[in-house]
């Protein structure tokens, strides 16, 4: 036992807690059965349920993508009608965005990891957390209702007046679905923000927060500020369909471009809701697998906040051709570029972290490398799209489609896969097959570029998006792209195969297979129902790989009531005390 002096007044009694391998009880064993899962308030179980739901929607939306690509094998009809095609891409886009990417990292992985990285027993409002999950499902049910009523073909952006006249019943259901879904992310982020502020373990000051937490914090801020605007937009759109309130409908005196402002006020920040949590994962994985302190902790932490802030002021770059005013266009274009700076800072700091590291190319790290490459391409093409005159040419072509797949799939999804593989042993207590993992990652890399690189070319050549039919000149590009998507499909099936197989196997994963210094790894795998069998105390920064593991395995020796106030464990003093 050693004494850590926390402040003038209190001294905490801390003790070393080494996580036991193969724990006899864990959160899987302690509350069992379907009912326990469905009514659980445990953030880990909720996180896993989210993960299952997200995987389901991803597989579904991915399957739709395969159908889209197959249809595009030839111009005009290959196997489905134009109307079906239009419904498919709408559903593909809407599902990937609202049901997969927005909740994927925060609500699925974040839910599991965030309280553990803070050394908390749960999020601040566990019941609210479960409620968010069910709200998410209800949102999904509404969308499926719309689907069974014949589907909707508005594009995921629901532009008026197309979305507000014509077949409105289905649009009402899906917009209400998205409205409900919005509450799910609002509640999750409210929960996260409060947890980060109020439930940190003793010693976790703001400068010791893992970068993953900083990223989730920035994400929560964006979600809290942007999602309500989506909610009201989509509600107005529903009302437009239900009773022609006319605010967005030119036939009734409204303005369709105003709708676009409303929509993108949410949906541009939303793309940062999707990518910023991915940035968090990259920071965690890259340090673990180079066994090295992160380079530029504050630069990475604060650039997330900078992205979050600037990200709010650039929405109009989706509207350069919409007929918005020249002043607005100019300002939006200018601000758009500013987002590239903090993003670049992150990329460069990550690369610098590798310098003189001890780099272990395990599957998660492989995904990080793929991420850095693909996301950079996605980002650069974003800059291309932000350039005013070029945007006029590229807007609403496949160039945009390629851009956002590079950032959303090449960025967020690769980060998600990195995180999934990284935390898989922690979450399930099982280890996946490393070789298959690398094979799948390589296939994804090949398939992805094959699918989306040709889209840059044909987009710049003039191939518009949301096109069922196309002129012959684009056939070779479309066919390469289609083949690429099949390769992707195979790769995902391999992932599905080895992950499921690892669940079935008896082999147990060690508590900390990667020798990470992260707090979440100082618990057993899988963790105890209350995450730790002690109240952890943190004296080092999260990536201090030069310090021995023992210093990361400290906890309160005696139950202490001052937990909430002990945030200010003084680093310097403790260091002196220890050495």
């Amino acid at each position: 036992m050693e004494a850590v002096k926390t402040s003038e007044k209190t001294t905490l009694q801390v003790k070393r807690f080494k996580p036991s391998e193969n724990p006899t009880t864990n959160f899987f064993t302690e509350e069992r059965g379907l009912k326990a899962w469905l009514t659980t308030v445990d953030h880990k179980k909720i996180g896993l349920m989210y993960l299952g739901a997200v995987a389901f929607f991803f597989a579904l939306a991915g399957f739709l993508a395969i159908a889209l690509r197959t249809e595009l094998w030839t111009p005009a009809k290959t196997f489905i009608e134009a109307d079906t095609y239009n419904k498919l891409f709408t559903l593909h886009g809407a599902m990937m965005v609202f049901f997969v990417l927005v909740p994927s990292i925060p609500a699925a992985l974040g839910n599991f990891i965030l309280p553990m990285q803070l050394g908390a027993k749960d999020v601040a409002f566990p019941r609210l957390n479960l409620a968010s999950f069910y709200i998410y499902l209800i949102g999904a049910v509404f969308t499926f209702i719309a689907l069974f009523m014949g589907g909707f073909d508005t594009g995921w952006t629901f532009y008026t007046p197309y979305s507000s006249d014509g077949d409105s019943a289905t649009v009402i259901w899906v917009t209400l679905g998205v409205f409900i879904l919005g509450f799910s992310s609002i509640l999750t982020s409210t929960n996260f923000m409060t947890t980060i502020h109020k439930l940190r373990a003793p010693g976790i000051t703001w400068d010791k927060l893992p970068l993953n937490i900083w990223a989730l914090y920035a994400t929560s801020i964006i979600q809290i500020l942007a999602t309500p605007v989506l909610a009201i937009t989509i509600l107005l759109l529903s009302l437009e369909n239900i009773m022609d309130i006319g605010i967005f409908d030119p036939a009734k005196g409204g303005d369709p471009v105003l709708y676009q402002h409303f929509f993108w006020f949410y949906s541009h920040p939303a793309v940062y809701i999707m990518i910023v949590p991915g940035f968090g994962i990259i920071s965690e994985v890259i340090t673990t697998f180079s066994k090295k302190t992160i380079f530029g902790y504050w630069a990475i932490a604060l650039s997330s906040l900078a992205i979050a802030f600037i990200g709010f002021l650039v929405w109009g770059h989706h509207m350069f051709t919409s007929g918005q005013s020249p002043v607005a266009t100019t300002i939006f274009s200018f601000l758009t570029f500013l987002v590239g700076i903090p993003t670049g800072i992150k990329i460069f700091n990550w690369v610098a972290t590798l310098y003189k590291g001890s780099i272990d190319m395990k599957t998660p790290m492989l995904y990080v490398f793929i991420f850095l490459f693909l996301f950079s391409i996605g980002g650069f093409t974003g800059i291309m799209l932000g350039a005013l005159s070029v945007n006029i040419h590229l807007h609403d072509t496949y160039y945009v489609v390629a851009h956002f797949h590079y950032v959303m799939m090449g960025g967020t999804l690769m980060a998600l896969l990195a995180g999934l593989h990284y935390w898989w042993p922690k979450m399930t207590g099982k280890m996946y097959n490393e070789t298959l993992g690398k094979v799948a990652a390589t296939l994804i890399f090949i398939g992805f570029n094959m699918t989306f690189l040709p889209q840059f070319v044909m987009g710049a050549q003039g191939m518009p998006r949301r096109y069922y039919n196309y002129i012959d000149q684009f056939t070779p590009f479309h066919q390469t792209s289609t083949v690429g998507s099949y390769v992707l499909g195979v790769a995902f099936l391999i992932i599905l195969y080895y992950l499921v197989k690892s669940l079935m196997s008896d082999e147990k994963a060690p508590a900390n297979p990667w020798e990470s210094r992260g707090l979440e790894w100082q618990s057993t795998s899988p963790p105890d129902l209350h995450n730790f069998d002690h109240t952890p105390v943190v004296i080092n920064k999260p990536y201090d790989y030069h310090r021995p593991m023992e210093e990361f395995q400290l906890g309160l020796a005696v139950e202490h009531n001052g937990h909430g106030e002990a945030h200010d464990v003084d680093v310097k003093e403790t260091e002196q005390e220890n050495s």
Binding site: N86, G166, F337, A352, G357, I383, G386, I392, H393, Q461
Partner: protein, 314 residues
């Protein structure tokens, strides 16, 4: 010009509008390639050079370096400032229509482009322009949003139902350029195509005169046929019986049509009139209510002519 990314762009047919765009496009591509290659080489080099040798490798404590941080913030900032000003300049150029531009009106509607010229000439899905002359298109939509895109000229502009928007270009060579609709507008969005047809200035004058002062032949059937062509009815209604978005016109007259609500109706003057002015009133079974109302667009006389024409399609 033989630049690295030339293969990505279609031929430049309107240098006055396209040159800025193309130059910037190439610049960004080349700059990005350099940075991307740099990052990639660093990644691969580090991965090999610093690969883990044993599980107790020691790594140095390098926490940050403010000089580096500033370097890699400021350099990209400068690059983006260049990109912004270049793009802005090009865009101002796209917005600034030359004073002597020749004006043509374009109306987008599901799923056609109707074009009208100063002397009353009208065309559908064909925009005839004189070569070497700046042309300004003033555009409007009749129903939902559309967007007018000519890749060869690097111009694009959304077309809105409640106000006018414009683009301009100056085609330098005689020939044709493809027009796409790039704002999603429903079933046949991908078939909402048109061509810009560039004539030599004299040819253009002739063409204009030949087609000026529309209508006029006096024969109702001919006039009806003309109207059906110009108003884009054939985007949805075939005249040869092939099924389309709307019912085919072939053999329509006097037909017993079953409606979506289960009732039936005989196709006569009143029904056709109603179907044109207020298509939503009676929906034919098996079709959706997607037809744009032609109220205010087709006059009574026009409709009478169309009816005469419909009677002849058997």
């Amino acid at each position: 010009m033989g630049r690295l990314f030339d293969f990505m762009l279609p031929e430049n047919m309107s240098p006055l509008t396209a040159d800025y765009t193309d130059g910037l496009f190439h610049f960004i591509n080349e700059a990005s390639t350099i940075v991307l290659v740099g990052i990639t080489i660093a990644l691969i080099y580090f991965a090999i050079r610093y690969r883990r040798k044993s599980s107790d490798d020691k790594t140095p404590v390098i926490t940050h370096n403010n000089k580096l941080e500033i370097t890699w913030s400021v350099i990209p900032l400068f690059i983006t400032l260049i990109i912004f000003s270049w793009g802005y300049k090009g865009w101002l150029n796209l917005k600034a229509v030359p004073d002597d531009a020749y004006e043509i009106h374009v109306t987008g509607f599901k799923w056609n482009w109707a074009v009208s010229y100063e002397n009353g000439a009208q065309t559908l899905n064909e925009i005839h322009v004189p070569q070497g002359t700046p042309v300004k298109l003033v555009m409007k939509s009749r129903d939902v949003l559309h967007s007018f895109f000519v890749p060869d000229y690097r111009v694009k502009q959304d077309v809105l139902p409640n106000r006018y928007t414009y683009v301009w270009f100056q085609a330098e060579e005689v020939g044709e350029s493809q027009v796409f609709c790039t704002e999603y507008c429903g079933t046949s969005h991908s078939n909402m195509l048109a061509k810009v047809i560039v004539h030599e200035p004299d040819d253009f004058k002739n063409w204009l005169e030949m087609n000026g002062g529309a209508g006029g032949s006096g024969d109702p059937v001919e006039a009806g046929k003309e109207l059906v062509n110009l108003n884009g009815c054939q985007a949805c209604h075939s005249v040869d019986g092939t099924p389309g978005i709307g019912p085919s016109f072939k053999g329509i007259w006097g037909k017993e049509e079953s409606l979506a609500d289960g009732s039936t109706v005989t196709v006569d003057e009143n029904y056709v009139r109603e179907s044109i002015l207020n298509p939503g009133a009676k929906i034919v079974a098996g079709h959706d209510n997607v037809m744009t109302p032609y109220e205010g667009i087709l006059s009574d006389e026009d409709i009478t002519n169309i009816i005469e024409y419909l009677k002849t399609i058997e």
